[in-house]
């Protein structure tokens, strides 16, 4: 099982190396362990995360692609769908069986059709359009709904921090 997972990860790594979507870099942290990847995601233009480069790690299960990987941002994030410890809560990362929040439609779940690229693209669209019904970070969801200005201030600080620039 692990062999086919390795093969698939290698194929996806190659694909992402030669033909990556805009503003995304992903690959294994170290090729000794192909099941732990690191990804850099650039905040989408026209959103409050614009310009930031956010690192995240992806942990793949041995039966990948039957089961989805886990994804966690390794930098400070403030977003309704990202837990305070950086774990990402989006439907594509959940297999159809599990549904921790009980609200997801099964249409956007993990299946072997998906790929690392699609996960990262979903994360980018999540950054652009938070889903404030999911309460991965209740404070962030509340602020997103009620005090957008304050929310933008926080994300701008995060963008600067991710680029290693001094706060404004």
């Amino acid at each position: 099982m692990a062999r086919s997972a390795l093969r698939r990860l290698m194929a996806e790594y190659k694909q992402l190396t030669l033909n990556p979507p805009e503003g995304i870099i992903a690959g294994p942290v170290c090729e000794e362990n192909f099941f732990e990847w690191e990804a850099l995601i650039m905040g989408p233009e026209g959103t409050c995360f614009e310009g930031g480069v956010f690192p995240a790690k992806l942990i793949f299960p041995p039966d990948y692609p039957l089961s989805p990987p886990k994804m966690q941002f390794t930098c400070e994030m403030f977003h309704p769908n990202i837990y305070p410890d950086g774990r990402v809560c989006i439907s594509i990362l959940h297999a159809p069986g599990e549904d921790p929040m009980g609200y997801e439609s099964s249409a956007e779940r993990w299946s072997p059709v998906q790929s690392v690229e699609k996960i990262l693209l979903s994360v980018i669209s999540m950054l652009a359009e938070p889903n404030d019904e999911s309460g991965a970070n209740v404070d962030a969801a509340k602020m997103w709904r009620e005090d957008r200005e304050q929310f933008n201030k926080i994300t701008d600080r995060l963008v600067r921090k991710s680029l290693g620039l001094a706060p404004a």
Binding site: L18, G23, C30, M42
Partner: protein
């Protein structure tokens, strides 16, 4: 989407038909003597080329005659389309001598895109524009050169040779960002009947190609000028590149494919790895395509692919394997979407598992990202090649990472007017 297979773009064997091989057997002693003589004449021609200035008309005639003696005959067509003021010439790539053939009728320099020794570069009329320091430096250097010099540059945007009969490889965009207009030239190479030796075969070295040029009686290069093409203001570099590729393909009556030179390298690796399967006795007579008995059982390979991509129907995998005969190539093709299929549901999931299509927001993001990977508009994070060793890949990964952060930082500063 192209219907052409990658392997149709290249020749595998020098001789396509066994009749040719038979005729060549008798010609061989003559050809060998001819080649040896031409090597000496070639040295003279080379010296003359070095001594005379690139723009003098004496050089032009002397060299053309000498090259004729050497077996390189150049014919021009469509001269009315030629514009001598054009600084950038783009041609298709069919042989190792393409740029010399162009140079004979239209003196020019070839920007070196390979990492060759300096002396060899100079001898071949190639100029190093700092390709090792990255594309941006290369473009800047070439642009600076074009401002100061009278000689145009000739570029083969395909990046690798093809047999010129079926399709063009995907053009790289950088030559089209040098200037607003380019002079396209299509090159066709012909050899006289009975000497139909392929000009370049997959995996061939330059010296074996060169030997073939000297060995056969002559090789005819037909250069056909196309009207100068200018980039429209509303067009980006990518679209302009594609437009030139399509019009050159039309002129040649072949297909403009989306295969890149990286695909050719992969293809060559595969063919050269497969070849030991063929019984040696057949090697000279037949094209080097493995017979079905020689390759491992397709069903075995297909089940391995199925393990990796459980959602792809088995028949699709088998069909593709029959052409590629390689697990990794088939995987790549399936993942890239070169091969189209309807996903089937995967049994190991709970019964309600329905195979999803990506949500609309993701889909439109994807469209956007595939539409633009041009040089300037977005920070492209694509690597030129996928390294063969872990170290190479890691190094490339680290480099691209640093580059992405650097670009993002610069942009942020520009946007927020920070110094």
């Amino acid at each position: 989407m192209t219907t052409l297979n990658l392997n149709e773009l290249f020749d595998v064997n020098r001789c396509q038909h066994s009749v040719d091989a038979f005729a060549l057997f008798f010609y061989f002693p003559i050809g060998l003597v001819l080649a040896v003589l031409r090597i000496f004449i070639g040295c003279h021609a080379f010296l003359i080329a070095c001594v005379l200035s690139k723009l003098s008309s004496v050089r032009f005639y002397v060299l053309r005659v000498m090259c004729m003696v050497l077996g390189v005959v150049v014919k021009e067509e469509g001269e009315t389309n030629r514009d001598r003021s054009m600084k950038v010439i783009v041609t298709n790539h069919v042989s190792t001598l393409d740029h010399l053939a162009v140079d004979l009728v239209l003196p020019c320099v070839l920007p070196g895109v390979w990492d060759l020794p300096k002396k060899l570069n100079w001898a071949l009329g190639i100029r190093d524009f700092g390709v090792k320091q990255g594309r941006d430096v290369l473009i800047q250097n070439v642009k600076r050169y074009l401002r100061d010099s009278d000689l145009p540059v000739v570029v083969h945007p395909e990046g690798a040779t093809t047999n010129g009969r079926k399709g063009l490889l995907k053009f790289s965009t950088w030559p089209f960002s040098l200037d607003h207009s380019v002079q396209p030239i299509v090159i066709q190479v012909n050899r006289p009947l009975g000497f139909k030796i392929a000009v370049s075969v997959i995996g061939s070295r330059w010296w074996s190609d060169l030997f073939c040029f000297l060995f056969v009686p002559f090789t005819l290069f037909t250069l056909r000028y196309l009207p100068v093409m200018t980039k429209h203001t509303e067009e980006d570099v990518e679209e302009f590149t594609k437009r030139v590729q399509v019009s050159m393909a039309q002129e040649l009556g072949i297909v403009a494919t989306n295969f890149t030179c990286a695909d050719k390298v992969e293809h060559a690796k595969r063919i050269l790895n497969v070849s030991p399967y063929i019984p040696p006795a057949h090697q000279n007579a037949q094209p080097r395509i493995p017979s079905t008995s020689a390759i491992p059982n397709i069903t075995d390979l297909a089940s391995q692919v199925k393990e990796v991509l459980p959602h792809v129907p088995l028949e699709v995998i088998k069909k593709d394997l029959a052409t590629t005969k390689c697990i990794d190539t088939t995987l790549t093709r399936l993942l890239e979407g070169t091969v189209i299929f309807t996903p089937e549901s995967v049994s190991s999931h709970p019964p309600k598992a329905s195979i999803s299509t990506p949500s609309t927001s993701t889909a439109c993001l994807e469209d956007k990202s595939t539409a633009s990977d041009s040089l300037f508009s977005t920070p492209s994070t694509a690597a030129q090649t996928f390294g063969t060793t872990a170290e190479e890949r890691m190094q490339s990964y680290q480099d691209r990472k640093a580059q992405l952060i650097e670009t993002a930082r610069r942009r942020y500063k520009e946007k927020h007017k920070m110094v």
